[in-house]
């Protein structure tokens, strides 16, 4: 006996297949968004670390910028400045050292000696800074790292106490949404990402 074959799918089959495909697609999109977020944060952190290392090389090898008789020449070292997280900084700044002395005035960031500004990628924020050593632990302050020519160690400053200006460590936390990574710098110039 000839039985006519049924063609096509039932509505239940269609709903199940579409549901499964939707779930898989949703998971992929969510996973991809999370991965992109993490990737952007990683890129920002690696850019910051490599910039600090570059500045360290400039400072320690004494790269000069500007004419010899120019008061603004940057040949006493180079530093990296990160603004107070409460000001929601969207960039960090490379600046030139001011003078020959390793004093507070010669080490702090001076906007007139700004060398370059590095914009953070969209969505990346500096959410916290933490310093330790010297005048004590300080949170949410503007921080700067200066590598001076001929100086065997980095000058870490948080603008808290000019009579005891130098700190042992600085930690800067970058976030992208709820994902975060922290960069640790110590006064001997070691720089690494903690997480």
């Amino acid at each position: 006996m000839y039985v006519k074959l049924q063609h096509g799918f039932t509505i239940i089959e269609m709903v199940v297949v579409v549901g499964l495909l939707g779930t898989i697609a949703g998971l992929l999109v969510l996973g991809s968004a999370e991965s992109r977020k993490q990737q952007r944060l990683d890129v920002a952190v690696e850019t910051f670390i490599s910039t600090v290392r570059e500045v360290q090389t400039w400072g320690q090898t004494g790269r000069a910028y500007g004419a010899a008789n120019d008061d603004n020449r940057f040949d006493y070292g180079y530093g990296v400045y990160v603004d107070n997280p409460q000001n929601n900084p969207t960039s960090f700044i490379v600046y030139g050292g001011a003078g020959t002395e390793a004093t507070y005035d010669d080490c702090i960031y001076d906007p007139t000696r700004e060398f370059a500004e590095y914009k953070l990628p969209k969505g990346i924020k500096v959410s916290a800074t933490q310093t330790a050593g010297g005048a004590g632990d300080n949170n949410h302050k503007q921080v700067q790292v200066l590598f001076r020519r001929g100086d065997t160690q980095a000058r870490l400053v948080d603008n808290v106490d000019s009579s005891d200006p130098f700190r042992d460590t600085i930690e800067i936390t970058f976030t992208n949404g709820d994902t975060e990574r922290t960069v640790h710098i110590n006064k001997f110039g070691l720089i690494y990402a903690i997480s």
Binding site: T100, G150, D151, T152, D168, N186, K187, F188, L190, Y192
Partner: protein, 175 residues
């Protein structure tokens, strides 16, 4: 009732069923073997890549420590050593420096640096596990006084990876 073409098709299918099973078994075995070999090569290759990546990370991380020891050695004129510790005396006046005492030592697999009696800070990042820090200072009137530091380190995530071994030698500046 079947149409002749359908009868022919079913007959053919039935006739081929035995052959198909053997063929399918053979194909299955071949495909499985190929997949297993491919997966194994992928795993081996991936493991090799991971080891290479960790070795690069480890070398990068150690570069700073090595550069720092060498920089300090050039700014110093005498070396003293203890068990797993080297102490250097900076030359006063060189690069505006004072005669600070700088020490390097290992504690809990971390290489630390200390200036005078200030707090010691790490100079190897957390991914580095220093397994040996061996210091020798040789006093040789014929050649020069020199110090030799052997440093062996592993990546924290690769305890069975080949270690990185660094030997650095520096001479006293006083001659």
């Amino acid at each position: 009732m079947l149409f002749p073409r359908q009868e022919k098709a079913i007959g053919k299918r039935e006739a081929m069923r035995g052959v198909l099973i053997i063929e399918m078994l053979a194909a299955f075995a071949i495909i499985s073997t190929t997949l297993i070999i491919a997966a194994d090569s992928f795993i081996v290759s991936n493991r090799g890549n991971e080891v290479a990546r960790r070795q690069v990370e480890l070398s990068d991380a150690l570069a700073f420590a090595l550069a720092d020891i060498n920089r300090e050695s050039k700014a110093s004129d005498s070396y003293m050593h203890d068990i797993q510790k080297i102490t250097m005396q900076r030359i006063a006046g060189l690069n505006n420096q004072t005669a600070d005492t700088v020490s390097y030592f290992v504690q809990d697999n971390v290489l630390y640096k200390q200036v005078n009696s200030e707090s010691a800070l790490r100079i190897t990042p957390p991914l580095v596990k220093v397994v040996l820090f061996d210091v020798n200072v040789y006093l040789n009137s014929v050649v020069q006084d020199f110090a030799r530091v052997n440093l062996v380190a592993r990546h924290i995530d690769g305890p069975s990876d080949p270690p990185i071994i660094i030997q650095t030698v520096f001479y006293s500046q006083q001659y």
